[in-house]
C-alpha cells in the first residue's frame, strides 16, 4: 500500500496493511537537513524541500504543510519576531488588539498576497506536486482563538472571553473568514487533510460552556466550508482533558489527534470503544516524554499505543503534538519502525 492508501483506509476506520505513522516534526526539520529553523520558517520553498527530504529519510506516512502558529496573525499585521534556531513569537510589546473594540476592527486580507500565508501555500503546492501521489499532504490552520491570542496576548484574551464575549466573538468571526480562505487555498493546492489546531478546547484553557459560547459558531462555519470541498478534517487537541463530545456538537470530524484522555474515559481502550466507530484516532504519545525516552523505551511505548488503539483499524500512530525538535533522530526512526514492527494487520 502507498501512504495515501494506508492513511485513507485508517480515515475510513478500516485496516490497512499496517498502522499508518506520522512523526509530525517541524522544529526538527532544520536539524535533520542542516538548515536554520528560523530561516525555513520564512521561506515556503525551503520549508517544503526540508519536509520532503525528512519524509524521504524516515518514511512516515504524511507530508506536513505547517510553518508555525503565527502565519494567520502575521497576515493581519501582527509583527512576528523570528529567532535563529527556535520558533518565533508575536511581538508582545506591540499587540494589535489593545482594547476589546479592536476585535471588530481586524481587516480580512488576501491570503494569496500575505507573505507568510503565501509561503505556507507554496510549501503545500511543492509537496503536492513532488510526492502527493504516494504520500498525502496534511495542512494546518489555527482555530480563531489561537490567532486572537497572538494579537491580544493570551491572558488578556482569556479575561476578554468572560468580560466581553461579544467583542471576542466578533474577532472570532473575522478570523473564521480568514481560515476559510486559507483552507480553500490549501485545498486548492492539493492538500487532502485539513488539521485544525484546537488548543482552547480543553480543560486547561476554557470551560466547555465558554469554549462553545465563543467559538462554536465560527468553527461550525469553517467545518461546513471545508467539508463542502470533500476534504477530511483532523482535529488536533493536545491539552489535558480535551472536549471531544463538545467538539462533536460543532460537526462530524474524521480524525482526532490527542495526547490525553477526555473526561468519561479512564483508559485508551475505553476511548477506542467509545469513539472508534465514529472517528479515526491519532496519537497519543506525549511529546516531551517521547523526546526523553531511549529509542527502545519509545518503541515499547509505541507498541502499547498500537495494542490499545490499533485493533480493528482506524488508528494512526503519532505523537499528540509536534515531536520535539531537539529529540534524538533515532527516536524519529524508532517511531516509524514501531509501526512496521508492531502495527501489521493480518
Amino acid at each position: 500500500m502507498t501512504s495515501v492508501e494506508r492513511v485513507e483506509a485508517a480515515m475510513q476506520l478500516q485496516k490497512a496493511d499496517r498502522v499508518p505513522v506520522w512523526i509530525r516534526i517541524i522544529g526538527g526539520l532544520g536539524r535533520v537537513t542542516g538548515v536554520k529553523y528560523g530561516e525555513l520558517l520564512q521561506n515556503g520553498e525551503l520549508a517544503a524541500k526540508c519536509a520532503l527530504e525528512t519524509q524521504e529519510l524516515f518514511g512516515d506516512d504524511f507530508l506536513y504543510a505547517f510553518l508555525d502558529t503565527l502565519v494567520e496573525s502575521d497576515g493581519f499585521g501582527q509583527r512576528t519576531i523570528f529567532l535563529e534556531n527556535e520558533a518565533g513569537y508575536a511581538d508582545k510589546e506591540n499587540f494589535m488588539i489593545q482594547s476589546p473594540d479592536d476585535y471588530s476592527r481586524l481587516q480580512l486580507f488576501d491570503v494569496a498576497t500575505a507573505k507568510r500565508c503565501k509561503d505556507l501555500i507554496k510549501m503545500a503546492e511543492i509537496m503536492v506536486s513532488e510526492r502527493s501521489k504516494d504520500v498525502p499532504v496534511i495542512a494546518i490552520v489555527q482555530e480563531p482563538l489561537v490567532t486572537l491570542g497572538n494579537m491580544r496576548g493570551i491572558e488578556k484574551l482569556l479575561v476578554d472571553c468572560l468580560r466581553y464575549p461579544e467583542a471576542v466573538r466578533q474577532g472570532v468571526d473575522i478570523v473564521t473568514d480568514l481560515i476559510i480562505d486559507l483552507s480553500h487555498a490549501l485545498i486548492g493546492a492539493g492538500v487532502k487533510y485539513m488539521l485544525l489546531c484546537h488548543d482552547y478546547g480543553n480543560r486547561r484553557m476554557l470551560s466547555e460552556e465558554l469554549f462553545l459560547k465563543i467559538e462554536k459558531d465560527g468553527l461550525a462555519r469553517w467545518h461546513k466550508a471545508v467539508k463542502a470541498t470533500g476534504t477530511r478534517i483532523v482535529i488536533h487537541s493536545c491539552g489535558p482533558t480535551p472536549y471531544v463530545d463538545a467538539t462533536f456538537t460543532i460537526g462530524e470530524f474524521d480524525c482526532f489527534q490527542l495526547c490525553y484522555l477526555p473526561t468519561g474515559c479512564t483508559n485508551w481502550s475505553e476511548f477506542k470503544n467509545k469513539y472508534g466507530n465514529r472517528i479515526c484516532i491519532m496519537g497519543h504519545l506525549v511529546p516531551s516524554e517521547a523526546a526523553r525516552m531511549t529509542p527502545k523505551e519509545l518503541k515499547r511505548e509505541c507498541k502499547n499505543n498500537i495494542e490499545e488503539l490499533g485493533p480493528g483499524g482506524g488508528y494512526i500512530l503519532a505523537p499528540g503534538c509536534e515531536f520535539p525538535g531537539n529529540a534524538s533522530m533515532l527516536n524519529y526512526k524508532a517511531l516509524v519502525d514501531s509501526a512496521e514492527e508492531y502495527g501489521r494487520y493480518r
Partner: protein
C-alpha cells in the same frame, strides 16, 4: 456575627462571583464607613481569591475566572492602598522568577507571579530567556529563599537542570522550583530541584513550604539562634 464580619463575608462572596463593580463599590463603601483597610484585604478580598483558587483546582473555575479574579483583587487593593498606614507587613518570602534561557513562553510564569504576589510573596521577575548566571546574581542581590524557573518547550528543559546545579553550587541554602508543560514531578526529582508544581495554585503551597524550610535552615546556621 457582627455587621462588619457580614460585610467582609459579602465582599468575599461578590469577589468569588466575579461581580467586578460590586466588589469595587463594596470596598469603597467599607472604606467610607471606616473599615480597617487591612481587614478589607485580609478578611474580605483574600478569602474570596482563595475560594476562587480552590474552585480552579477542582475544575469548577478555569483560567479566565482565575485571571479575572486576580485583576479585580489587584484593582481593589489599589483602592485600599492609599488608606493603609505603613505597618511594616511581614514579608512572606522572596522568589526570583523567570523563564529559562532560550525560552520565551511566559504565560505560566506570569500566572505564578500573579498568584505568588497575591499570596504576599515578593517576586523579582527577570522576564523571559534568562541566563542562569542572571538568576544567581538576582538571588545574591535579594537574598531570595527560592529561585524559580519555567520551560515550556522540550529543547529548553535541560536548562533547568543546569540552573538547579548552579544554584546548588553557587547559592547553597536556596531552594529551586521548576515548572512548565513538559516538566514533571519525576523530572524535577531527577534534576535535584526542591520543588515542582503542575499549576500556579499548587505552586503557592509548594513555595510556602520551601520558604519555611529555607528560613529554618538559615536561622539554624546563625550562631545563637535556634532552628524554627
Amino acid at each position: 456575627m457582627s455587621i462588619k464580619e457580614n460585610t467582609l463575608d459579602t465582599m468575599k462572596q461578590v469577589l468569588f462571583n466575579l461581580q467586578e463593580n460590586d466588589v469595587y463599590e463594596l470596598v469603597r463603601k467599607a472604606l467610607a464607613e471606616g473599615y480597617d483597610p487591612t481587614d478589607i484585604i485580609n478578611k474580605g478580598l483574600t478569602p474570596g481569591m482563595v475560594a476562587v483558587g480552590e474552585e480552579f483546582e477542582k475544575y469548577r473555575y478555569y483560567l479566565p475566572e482565575l485571571l479575572l479574579c486576580a485583576e479585580i483583587f489587584r484593582a481593589s487593593v489599589d483602592i485600599v492602598k492609599p488608606k493603609m498606614k505603613h505597618t511594616g507587613t511581614k514579608n512572606k518570602g522572596t522568589v526570583v522568577l523567570g523563564t529559562i534561557q532560550e525560552d520565551i513562553h511566559e504565560i505560566g510564569k506570569n500566572l505564578v507571579k500573579l498568584i505568588f504576589e497575591l499570596a504576599g510573596i515578593e517576586v523579582h521577575d527577570l522576564g523571559i530567556d534568562v541566563p542562569c548566571a542572571k538568576f544567581i546574581e538576582e538571588k545574591s542581590r535579594t537574598n531570595a529563599e527560592i529561585v524559580a524557573a519555567s520551560a515550556m518547550i522540550t529543547s529548553t528543559v535541560p536548562g533547568l537542570k543546569k540552573l538547579t546545579e548552579l544554584v546548588k553550587r553557587e547559592a547553597p541554602g536556596t531552594a529551586v522550583m521548576i515548572g512548565g508543560a513538559p516538566v514533571t514531578d519525576s523530572l524535577a526529582e531527577e534534576y535535584g530541584a526542591d520543588g515542582f508544581a503542575p499549576d500556579c495554585i499548587s505552586a503557592v503551597k509548594v513555595a510556602e513550604t520551601l520558604i519555611g524550610s529555607v528560613r529554618a535552615q538559615r536561622s539554624a546556621r546563625v550562631p545563637g539562634k535556634q532552628p524554627g
